[in-house]
Symmetry: C2
Subunit: 291 residues, 2 copies
Amino acid sequence: MRWRDGYIAVDWGTSNRRAYAIDAEGRLTETIEDDLGIMNVPTGRFEAAAADLRRRFAGRPVLMAGMVGSNRGWVETPYVPCPAAAAELAAAIHWLEPDIGIVPGVSLSAGDRVDVMRGEEVQAVGALALGIAPDTLICHPGTHAKWIVMAEGRIAGFRTMMTGELFGLLRKHSILSAQLEGSVTADESFREGAAAGLAGADLLSGLFQIRARHVLGRNGPDGASYASGLLIGSDVRSGLRGHRRGAVALVGRSDLRALYAAAIALAGHEAVEVDGADAFLAGMAELTEML
Amino acid sequence: MRWRDGYIAVDWGTSNRRAYAIDAEGRLTETIEDDLGIMNVPTGRFEAAAADLRRRFAGRPVLMAGMVGSNRGWVETPYVPCPAAAAELAAAIHWLEPDIGIVPGVSLSAGDRVDVMRGEEVQAVGALALGIAPDTLICHPGTHAKWIVMAEGRIAGFRTMMTGELFGLLRKHSILSAQLEGSVTADESFREGAAAGLAGADLLSGLFQIRARHVLGRNGPDGASYASGLLIGSDVRSGLRGHRRGAVALVGRSDLRALYAAAIALAGHEAVEVDGADAFLAGMAELTEML
């Protein structure tokens, strides 16, 4: 199989695109990151947007994952239903050309509840390949954070939380904007918010505390860190529900991992951190080995 | 007292201004509503914005309430701390001129928790004057909904929920926007969302259900009504906490009352509705009688 001679793995998201060149020994030789996320590529221009990658890497095969397979992406690819493992994902790759494929997303249907992911499934497969236990809970922070239940090495179920998006909306457009301008770190203010969120604080009233403290001129926690803590604490409380024991695998960007690790520790659980890009590459390697 | 000869009561909010002319018999003779909310009046131009009202009503005294007394308004007036009744509010009116006053807001400080209101205190006083029990729970829906505990005819405590603002943010700026375009009514979709909110559904994941259903092409509740129901159900769940018995006085706009009444009924409580403008006028009458 020519995938063994090297390939291009592309993590093509909403705002950004990261292309990784992998050689015949499976080593990462080059990374290209640009802002050609799917929202920045006009409809019908995906082939052109990908052509530069192909030229640059002399026709090596390309495997893509993420929002590029959504209804706003290159082509809408079906979802693989849970439970799903690497084999199901590899078998359902959508082939645009014999050597250009898009990894499918994963869907959940559990009674009335439905859910979808695109891109995180590759990182879940990769985290397994990197050594997390086959039965574990994965937390993947982000605009739409995912809590993924892995059972016997398969994606058995998951839940999406709009945590990152909600924080962004509050920071950009709400009455709290001026109080949420600062950078967020896992400081005392963050932990105060996270503790409230973990204790089940009401988001609708808890967030207004930031406004009331400001208007009354009260000293209090930093608004940005407190709001982030409150939202992430609430997210972690919900994500950990039903999780009995064992570490949580925390897969994603380092800045978000730091925040979630702090909240998970406050909840009395241990987080094992896995870099999101490492997990993505390990997942793509796992999938290409099946081709 | 010349207030007995008639006055102008002004409900001066963030986006709109409503001025009511009251005659010597206490009857409403004219209502002027315009979009000169405080955000639409340049700093330093409030006097000019009020001059037309004064000219029009031949120098009758003016009593104002609402965001006009905030740091973005005509002049920032102090808050009266809880517990507060009509007498405390009347005594703390801020006089710009001998016959132009602004009703103070009310603040709460209960341990770590703080809260503020401006404008709703007049409606609470007015609802009492209109006959709600002196010990009751008032729900005042809005951008920042207020749940006000009245005890012995005083504002004993309250809690603000960012329910309306959050719905607006989701509708205008979020990934759910396209699914939240429709009008919201207390229909089956609203009740489905409200039931989930009342049962303690996680907002961060509950809202994403709307996205997942759409992406998967599932039939399901109308997005706008479901999201509104989920948020209002969560709001009502929190607002009713600790409320043992007796009706809830639901004071505000008729469209919002219909939604909250449906959620309150689903929670097994009864709502007695009071029109917000009626409550405002009754509250201003109560205050001017003390001048």
